[in-house]
Symmetry: C2
Subunit: 102 residues, 2 copies
């Protein structure tokens, strides 16, 4: 069954909210940045056009790092009570789309 954004946000809230809200935003933001750093490493390991293709483990790690960054972002959204599905209407609602993503 297809995973919805709201379901994912709920899974993260149910599992991590007490710990994450007790840690607070600054500490949680540091975890996010640590994972962004790990994503950068994984992107380098999987750089397109390298002479050596990435190993299966490197490829699997790249997928995990995307998941980790999204999980920490979702946790920050939960602490601030931001509804990600609603926020993403910036990109999905034709009435709101402005053509660039900045």
């Amino acid at each position: 069954m297809a995973l919805t954004v709201a379901q994912f946000q709920r899974v993260i809230r149910d599992r991590y909210f007490p710990t994450d809200s007790a840690r607070g935003v600054p500490g949680t933001f540091m975890w996010l940045i640590e994972e962004v750093g790990e994503l950068a490493t994984a992107l380098q390991d999987n750089a397109l056009g390298k002479a050596q293709p990435p190993t299966p483990a490197q490829r699997a790690n790249l997928e995990e790092e995307f998941a980790d960054v999204i999980a920490w972002l979702t946790t920050l959204a939960n602490i601030h009570n931001v509804d990600l599905e609603k926020a993403l209407t910036k990109y999905t609602d034709p009435k709101r789309v402005e053509g660039v993503k900045d």
Copy 2:
């Protein structure tokens, strides 16, 4: 209707893939980091427990910055052909969940 992770990834691919893949990973990663910086600013503006609550515009901006970071992450995933719904099974599949998100 509930937005699925796969639908969102498809919207971003359909709208931005040609530009983003031509720009490449390093340039796209810089855009991601710029948005992470804007998210940090928005988190400060909306800091919990401040004497002055955030203005409605600051609150709306916080939601937008979450959306922007997720959109740039999704673009990077598209360039690397990473299926985010599959990647997120790290958190949603009870057989894979390991209790910590690092």
